[in-house]
């Protein structure tokens, strides 16, 4: 049974979510997150987050760090529910420059920290580290920030040395849009920069635009005959059905050699936790193998 409306609202307003998690920090400021990269970074640093956007999808596609049970869902990122946000009464709102249109209204509720992680001409990994440090400064959790940065670096270099002993082929890392199109991650994306830090070669050498990858014709996967293909889930059902029957797909060098791996979803516009998750999933797939398509 849920408690009566008013008391519950007041509890959230008082930031009891943070209280329960760590009683020593009773006066700590709480956060609300519009941007997922900021949300996952804040959660990984155990900052009390009282509200976040699109949590239904977060549970499905970002997955970790897990959401605290009391967190309020703010609805779609483009159309934030301001009534819910104002009742959650966060001390600081974490956003990114994609949501500047909402900022005047966000500022009516609390100060806004807007950080850019995915930006043209900037290494998103370094930007993600900078975001973690900034969060640490704002919430008085410098130690947690350093811990997150250090642990992530350590995990990446551990995975890198574990993989160093094995023969490695260049990797196409893709998501599948439909049976005829995929999106590919370039060297300037978070995926690309994680590959580099793991000592892996990105098979996609052509231009992409910072984190984003244009829809690409599946034929271009034939460009690098030595490459393996890593597919980030989810794979659309029709692609699972149609691709294995396609003459072109079956004759791609990677497919003929059985070098296709499907790994669990990763937030490819994420922060350090997403980079860590990707490194772990990639490391496991490359050393222990992963299911192919179909």
């Amino acid at each position: 049974m849920s408690p009566p409306a008013l008391s519950r609202r007041r509890l959230i307003a008082l930031g009891v979510a943070g209280l329960i998690a760590s009683p020593a920090r009773a006066t700590e400021i709480t956060a609300a997150a519009i941007d997922w990269a900021m949300l996952e970074t804040a959660l990984a640093m155990h900052i009390p987050v009282v509200a976040g956007a699109e949590l239904l999808l977060y549970r499905k596609f970002v997955i970790e760090p897990a959401l605290p049970p009391e967190i309020a869902d703010l609805g779609l990122r483009g159309t934030i529910n301001f009534e819910v946000l104002s009742r959650a009464a966060p001390g600081l709102i974490l956003s990114s420059p994609w949501y500047t249109r909402l900022e005047p209204n966000l500022r009516r509720i609390a100060p806004v920290l807007s950080m850019r992680i995915h930006e043209r001409g900037r290494d998103p990994y370094e930007a993600a580290e900078a975001a973690a440090f900034e969060l640490g400064r704002r919430f008085g959790r410098e130690a947690a920030a350093e811990g997150l940065v250090r642990e992530t670096r350590e995990q990446l270099s551990a995975t890198a040395s574990a993989l160093a002993a094995r023969p490695r082929s260049p990797l196409f890392v893709i998501t599948i849009g439909d049976p005829r199109h995929f999106r590919v991650f370039g060297t300037d994306s978070m995926v690309g920069t994680v590959l580099k830090r793991l000592g892996l070669v990105n098979a996609w050498e052509r231009q992409t635009s910072y984190s984003v990858q244009a829809p690409v014709d599946i034929v271009t996967l034939a460009d690098n005959p030595d490459a393996a293909i890593v597919i980030l889930a989810p794979v659309p059902d029709d692609a699972r059905r149609v691709l294995p029957e396609s003459e072109i797909w079956r004759n791609l060098p990677a497919v003929r050699a059985g070098r296709v791996m499907v790994i669990d979803p990763v937030n490819h516009f994420g922060g350090l936790p997403a980079a860590r998750r990707l490194a772990r999933l990639l490391g496991a797939a490359l050393s222990e193998g992963a299911p192919g398509l179909g």
């Binding site: 483009g78 529910n81 009534e83 819910v84 500047t100 930006e119």
Partner: protein, 664 residues
């Protein structure tokens, strides 16, 4: 003599384009073959040539074929639809085929992913046919009378597009394929789509040949056709069916390629094809050339850049300016006037009706301010809770009403001025131009401040207005030309938007959130500014009442009553554009209200210009206020953008009214 020389020039230009198209196709194939050239096919070396051979045979050649066939099919479908609907802006999208198909695909992908047995193509075809079946059912009782059919098609199309966009928005970035499909990609993996399309095109071409005579007779008008012993209803029904089957199969095989079906018959007419037979032969050829030329260019640039820009979006990009360029060459032909009588009652006391509408608006306003929802369910806010929530509720409500009022006024002006029931502020292309300004800013200046985004929006709208006025000033302001110009502008902006959205990056979500029309971002200051803008723009409208009363009678009648048509229409266009631009600035491109509110006001019985205009404004404000309120309640804490919601509640009501009126 002059005509003959012009004819030669057209032939030469056409020949050059065919040659260019062939060379582009050849280039794509040669690039696919690689350094060993044709030897890859004739004397393949298994170790190195295998994949190249497969790519040429199973991807490049079928792509060339599909471009040719799909272009022809779209051209033919467009010609049939435009002929039978007697409407130069009719095509597969006007009848809701594309939108219905897309909705079926999006819904199946989002809700029934286990529906694996049914292929994407089958789903799209079923969706397209279902939506067109509703349109035909609505048009049945009135013998598929053109305006009803076109209007019903537009409504279904807008409804499907709204529902589809809502699903995409709620499912997040994982439905990238939907953006791709919306852009119409011609990339191929086998000959199956080419074969399927070719077969369907052949059958349809045979049927079109049989329909040629009935179509020629239909052009004489309904009474004339009946006198010649033609079953008007039957002829229209079968023509529409053939066109739908054609367009539906193209949509299901390669996605939405809108502009070819719209442009090809218009170009054919500009080149002089007037008779049904000539039009039915010329349109597929032109469509074929248009699409394969576009696809050749797309392939060449994609090969250079490594990108997969969808061809359908680029077709619209090329097609838009091309139609603008051809506009002065458009023969001054008049659409046969629709002789079906206007239905519905005329209110005896119209101003009492207007007051009633205002009262309903007031009630909705109070409900929207007081009734909300929180984590525990619905609640009626009173006292402290009310004053706590009020600062969040009133700005969006005021913005919604202001936008609704402005769009409805713009719609009423345009509909009375052009006499075209399909005309809406959206057709002017102003909203799309504003959206283009915004999107370019978001892409080029990542993290642009909100005021810069607003400024870009305004600049886009202003540029759109200037282009529209240039069109209007340069050519005589006939309704058809202006609508075509506006559609070209909208298609051009929309195409760039589709390309940007197809990239599926973070900026797509910023753009999509704006595109669907939302009131979330409205601050108290912005709301006040919106209300003031509305007041300033609506105040001079009574001055136009006399023009608006007379213009629907037609140009000749208006001129004889002493109206300087060109200057009157130019002023009306400016006011309508300002109204549209204003609404777009505050809440985004909410197009449906501008179409619907004037229709609803008319159905209430408000016919005289003054009452109709006032009624439209009130109905528009009422519609968007209700939509804003309900969108806040329905999926709490998730909120559907108000623009989407407005079409979901208004569309069914309008369709119901259409059906009701018909059964009288």
């Amino acid at each position: 003599m002059v005509e003959a020389r012009q004819h030669h020039r057209f032939l030469a230009a056409g020949g050059a384009l065919v040659l260019l198209s062939a060379m582009l196709s050849l280039y794509a194939v040669l690039a696919g073959l690689g350094p060993r050239g044709l030897a890859v096919l004739t004397a393949p070396q298994p170790a190195m040539d295998g994949l190249r051979r497969i790519i040429v045979l199973h991807a490049l050649l079928p792509r060339i074929a599909v471009a040719l066939i799909a272009g022809a099919a779209l051209g033919l479908a467009g010609a049939l639809l435009q002929r039978v609907l007697r409407n130069p802006i009719a095509d597969a999208s006007t009848l809701g085929i594309s939108a219905g198909a897309q909705l079926a695909l999006v819904a199946a992908t989002a809700f029934l992913p286990e529906l694996g047995g049914l292929a994407r193509e089958t789903l799209a075809l079923v969706g397209g046919l279902a939506s067109v079946a509703i349109v035909l059912a609505l048009g049945w009782r009135r013998g598929f009378e053109p305006t009803t059919l076109a209007l019903a098609g537009l409504l279904i199309g807008l409804l499907c597009a709204s529902a589809g966009a809502a699903i995409i928005l709620f499912s997040g970035q994982y439905l990238t394929s939907m953006f791709l499909w919306g852009g119409g990609s011609l990339a191929q993996q086998s000959w199956e789509p080419a074969k399927t399309l070719a077969l369907r095109l052949l059958i349809a071409a045979g049927l079109a040949a049989l329909l040629q005579r009935p179509l020629a007779v239909l052009a004489l008008g309904e009474a004339g056709a009946r006198n010649l012993g033609l079953s008007v209803r039957g002829a229209r029904f079968y023509t529409v069916l053939v066109a739908v089957a054609l367009a539906g199969s193209v949509v299901s095989q390669v996605g939405m390629i809108g502009f070819v079906g719209l442009a090809a018959p218009n170009i054919a007419r500009m080149l002089g094809a007037r008779r049904a037979g000539a039009l039915l032969v010329a349109s597929p050829l032109i469509g074929s050339l248009l699409l394969s030329l576009t696809d050749g260019l797309v392939q060449a640039t994609n090969a250079a850049s490594g990108l997969g820009t969808p061809t359908g979006a680029v077709a619209a990009l090329l097609g838009g300016p091309f139609l603008l360029f051809l506009l002065p060459r458009l023969p001054i032909y008049t659409m046969p006037q629709d002789d079906a009588p206007l239905t519905g009652a005329v209110a005896r006391r119209p101003w009492r009706l207007v007051a009633g509408t205002a009262a309903v608006l007031l009630v909705i306003l109070l409900c929207a301010l007081a009734i909300g929802r929180d984590a525990d369910g619905f609640e009626l806010a009173t006292g402290a809770a009310f004053s706590e929530l009020l600062p969040w509720r009133w700005p969006r409500l005021v913005a919604a009403m202001a936008a609704g009022a402005m769009l409805a006024a713009a719609g009423a002006l345009i509909q009375r001025m052009t006499g075209n029931p399909l005309a809406s502020p959206e057709v002017l292309g102003i909203s799309s131009a504003a959206g283009l300004g915004l999107s370019l800013t978001i892409v080029l200046v990542p993290g642009a401040a909100w005021w810069l985004q607003g400024l870009a929006c305004a600049a886009g709208a202003a540029l759109g207005l200037l282009i529209l006025l240039a069109i209007a000033r340069h050519f005589e302001l006939t309704a058809n030309r202006m609508l075509l110009g506006g559609i070209a502008l909208a298609a051009f902006s929309g195409a760039i938007l589709t390309v940007i959205l197809a990239r599926g990056g973070l900026e797509s979500f910023a753009i999509l959130a704006w595109l669907t029309g939302s009131t979330q971002q409205v601050t108290p200051e912005l709301a006040v500014a919106g209300a003031l803008t509305t007041a300033v723009l609506l105040l001079p409208l009574p001055l136009f009442a006399r023009w608006l009363q007379i213009l629907p009678l037609g140009d000749a009648a208006s001129a004889s009553l002493g109206i300087a048509i060109a200057s009157a229409k130019t002023r009306l266009v400016i006011v309508a554009s300002l109204l549209t631009g204003g609404a777009t600035l505050f809440v985004g491109p909410v197009s449906f209200v501008g179409l619907m509110a004037p229709h609803l006001a008319r159905m209430l019985g408000l016919r005289s210009a003054g009452a109709h205009l006032t009624g439209s404004v009130l109905v528009g404000a009422l519609l968007l206020a209700t939509a804003d309120w309900l969108s806040r309640l329905m999926f709490f804490p998730y909120q559907m953008p108000v623009g989407l919601f407005a079409s979901l509640i208004g569309g069914p009501y309008l369709i119901w009214t259409l059906v009701k009126n018909r059964s009288r």
